[in-house]
């Protein structure tokens, strides 16, 4: 019979004593994230350094039927890496090598714990003509975790979800096999995650680590223009926003489109800040794009539905920074160190109704709100965030924030949205609404890949 001490000793044999902890302090910290989901402690926190170590750990866990949860930085905020059934928590951040950059095929291969910040810095220093789609999560967020949750970033308007930009995977399956996915399975090149082969990446992306552990990931890189600028517009009617987004997208000149709304400071109340980012290799190129954007939005400007805000020198650096530190600062608006958001992916026509709901819910539960929307694809959908900050020292406020989030998620689902990085409750809501045959297919896939149900149990559990 397996005992706690034999699992611990086996883990020590695999990664060494310094990289395993069954101490209370690590168990406490890794039992929770910055959001509102209930904590649950892992039995062990392990820091693997190689694919081989991950393989041995997973093989051990599968043999002993011990849960395994891989974690990047734990910044999803919806408890996706809270080890709901204990077991082994694999902190992947020691696997942080940037393995290869192929400049001519424009991709990078990173290990499973490489941070967004490290990749950004590495590309800027070594391959300044290339960039990746940086999300607005803090820089410690990992490239793999962001892809696994279908994150979005600065290039999502042009190229879709960050997971769409994956160009290959190395995965340790729950049964211990190491599997290559995409062009790298037949070629030394990691240029495609699927085509022209059957696209097996879908067995892992979006599954929150319930079907395997990604130990390497290929990511498409894109041209990095020499210059970048922002055009900032302000509107005060939510119903205009979908058309403004579409018009901006129609120019095919805009790198990224985001809309923010928040009631405080009071000068922001009742307004929507529309941020259009443009890039160019010369001032002429930038100027041409500025003109195109102006031409596209002129009809709204002429009717005085839209204002242009000149960006002062002190405003510009925070607006231009990647990732945006302002996104993180929202956590301290209530001087309380907490925020969480429901971020349904939804058609952009839903912006006005979602905005109305956000204001209504914030008032109902007396919580501070903000919203940040990002256009994804060429207007194919948007991520609309219902964001609420809370004070971690105020349990009542935390409870109200959670109720507000739950109500917004239910509403978004009812309105045809699909919940992004859904927490356990939201996953249940999604699966209840899902086509039964789809649900059955998910169940079959999960059972096939993870027969003992060891991988991040609790998540995507089809009953």
């Amino acid at each position: 019979m397996v005992t706690m001490s034999t699992v611990y000793e086996s883990l020590v044999k695999i990664v060494g004593k310094d990289h395993v902890s069954n101490r209370k302090e690590e168990q406490y910290f890794y039992a929770r994230d910055g959001g509102l989901m209930p904590a649950h402690e892992p039995d062990y926190v392990v820091l693997p350094r190689t694919t081989e170590e991950v393989k041995q750990i997973v093989t051990l866990a599968n043999k002993e039927k011990v849960p395994v949860v891989p974690i990047g930085a734990g910044l999803a905020l919806t408890g996706l890496v809270i080890p709901h059934k204990g077991g082994i928590l694999l902190d992947m951040k020691m696997m942080d090598r940037i393995v290869e950059v192929n400049e001519k095929a424009r991709y990078v291969i990173v290990e499973g714990g490489t941070t967004q910040g490290a990749l950004k810095s590495y590309l800027q220093k070594n391959h300044p003509d290339l960039r990746h789609s940086i999300p607005d999560a803090p820089p410690v967020a990992t490239v793999v975790a962001n892809a696994v949750i279908h994150g979005q970033g600065r290039l999502s308007h042009q190229h879709g979800f960050n997971s769409d930009m994956v160009s290959g995977l190395e995965v340790v399956l729950p049964t211990g096999e190491v599997c290559l996915i995409g062009s790298c399975s037949v070629s030394p090149y990691w240029f495609s995650k699927g085509p022209p082969l059957p696209d097996l990446s879908g067995l892992f992306l979006g599954w929150f680590g319930t079907t395997g552990i990604i130990t390497k990931l290929g990511l498409k890189l894109y041209p990095c223009k020499k210059m970048r600028d922002i055009m900032l517009f302000i509107a005060d009617r939510a119903e205009l926003i979908p058309d403004i987004m579409l018009k901006l997208s129609h120019t095919e000149m805009v790198e990224d489109v985001t809309i923010s709304a928040q009631p405080l400071p009071l000068r922001y109340k009742g307004t929507f800040w529309i941020m259009a980012y443009i890039t160019g290799d010369s001032e002429d190129e930038l100027e041409f794009k500025r003109k195109m954007v102006w031409d596209a939005l002129w009809v709204h400007y002429e009717k005085r539905d839209l204002g242009f805000l000149s960006v002062s020198p002190d405003m510009k650096p925070p607006l231009m920074s990647m990732p945006s530190k302002d996104t993180t600062r929202f956590a301290d608006v209530a001087k309380g160190g907490g925020f969480q958001y429901a971020g349904p992916i939804t058609p952009i026509e839903k912006f006005p109704t979602f905005m109305q709901k956000l204001e209504e819910v914030a008032k109902k539960y007396n919580v501070f709100y903000s919203s940040a929307t990002r256009l994804i694809g060429s207007g194919h959908c948007m991520m609309f965030s219902f964001s609420f900050s809370f004070n971690r020292a105020n349990p009542d406020e935390m409870a109200r924030a959670k109720q507000a989030l739950d109500e917004c998620s239910k509403f978004a689902l009812k309105e045809g949205g699909v919940l992004w990085k859904a927490d356990l409750d939201e996953q249940k809501m999604l699966m209840q609404k899902m086509d039964p045959n789809t649900l059955s297919l998910m169940k079959k896939i999960k059972l096939l890949l993870d027969p003992n149900g060891i991988m991040n149990p609790g998540n995507w559990e089809v009953q």
Partner: protein, 385 residues
């Protein structure tokens, strides 16, 4: 201060910005870089302190070790995007102070306090030997312009003594009027403050301040950035009334006034910013000005420099306690590898603690003969005509 940290510490969102330098290129928090469990990052530390305050985590030696491995390098305060960033160091000092009051501290920290309390220095060496290095250096007397405050490492540590002797020679040669306290010098208390022993700290400040007052000291020049930091930022609130500068500031001024003449030196040098000079007190330029004023010397920067400099791991008493040692990821070893990667033959420092930590790391990394750690004053001395 304790009250403030108790009511504020929950505000950390554990976003992780505190782990990085400005360009996010690598991890810049020394204990996190060394141990790699998130608990050893500033976010981890703050969440655990809050859990301890709420009674969700019991005190343990491991908890105390996590708290006391922080070198107080202040990288977190530089990088944290929140408004409370400037308070983070005080929060950690406050939590340490609470643990000290309860007698719940790691044994190595307890030994550090005992040594300073009993011997006036953390090395547990005799008070009567404090000025053994001085070899006739003049004691401070009324009318001297500067008191040269040598500090514990300058007085007792082999590398620190070399620094002290070098600075004495340079100041004498430049005709500066100064003296030392000799065996009457007490520990400055910087580490004691950072480690949270407020009773002992107050006692040290009172002793030093009283001595300075009796002797009529108006200006203090310190060998060590730690001493500079505490005298500049903490002594005034406790009655200390004197001007203080670090020796690099004084030397830069003397060079500017042409009171130190420099000859050619072909060294290729990279400069390591000490945390208590750089991030704690914004002194980045003077040491570089000194080095750049030496004809023929080539100054190259490490990837992480100035406000992004990676700590040697010696701060907050770790130059003695060494809670971050024992691994290739120990901060000093990481730092000398970074220095070596610049192609420099000399790693310049301006702190006896950094000197000790990095010199040991050079040996461990087998870089002897390839990279030499030298104090800025030593380089000046070698370049003096």
């Amino acid at each position: 201060m304790q009250q403030k940290y108790v009511s504020q510490i929950h505000r950390c969102f554990r976003c992780g910005y505190c782990k990085f330098p400005t360009d996010y290129s690598s991890f810049n928090c020394p204990p996190y870089r060394r141990f790699r469990f998130d608990t050893y990052s500033t976010g981890g530390r703050l969440w655990l302190i809050y859990a301890w305050l709420k009674g969700e985590v019991e005190w343990s030696e491991h908890l105390a070790e996590i708290l006391f491995t922080c070198t107080m390098c202040k990288n977190c305060a530089e990088q944290c995007p929140m408004k409370f960033a400037p308070d983070i160091v005080d929060w950690i000092v406050g939590a340490r102070s609470d643990m000290v009051e309860k007698g719940k501290i790691p044994p190595r920290v307890a030994r550090f306090f005992e040594a300073v309390h009993g011997y006036g220095n953390p090395l547990k060496l005799l008070r009567s030997d404090r000025a053994a290095w001085a070899n006739g250096t003049k004691l401070y007397s009324a009318g001297d312009e500067y008191l040269l405050y040598v500090g514990c490492l300058g007085s007792y540590d082999e590398h620190g003594q070399k620094m002290a002797k070098g600075i004495v020679d340079i100041l004498n040669k430049a005709g500066v009027s100064f003296g030392i306290l000799g065996n009457d010098e007490e520990c400055c208390g910087n580490e004691i403050y950072m480690l949270g022993e407020m009773g002992l700290f107050q006692n040290l400040v009172e002793k030093n301040s009283q001595k300075f007052k009796e002797l009529g000291v108006k200006k203090v020049v310190t060998l060590c950035p730690h001493g500079y930091n505490v005298m500049k930022n903490n002594y005034p609130a406790l009655g200390g009334s004197f001007e203080v500068c670090h020796y690099t500031q004084l030397l830069a001024d003397l060079i500017k006034k042409k009171r130190i003449k420099l000859s050619r030196n072909k060294a290729k040098v990279t400069y390591h910013d000490p945390c208590f000079l750089g991030r704690h007190n914004n002194i980045y330029d003077e040491p570089r000005q000194i080095l750049q004023s030496i004809p023929g010397l080539k100054l190259v920067e490490m990837e992480r420099n100035r406000r992004d400099a990676f700590c040697c791991g010696g701060g907050s008493g770790n130059f003695i306690m060494d809670l971050l040692a024992g691994d290739e990821d120990s901060p000093a070893r990481v730092r000398v590898r970074e220095a070596y990667a610049t192609g420099a033959d000399t790693l310049a420092v301006a702190c006896p603690s950094c000197m000790t930590m990095l010199t040991d790391a050079v040996k461990t990394e087998d870089l002897d003969g390839k990279l030499t750690v030298k104090d800025v004053s030593q380089i000046i001395k070698e370049s003096s005509s």
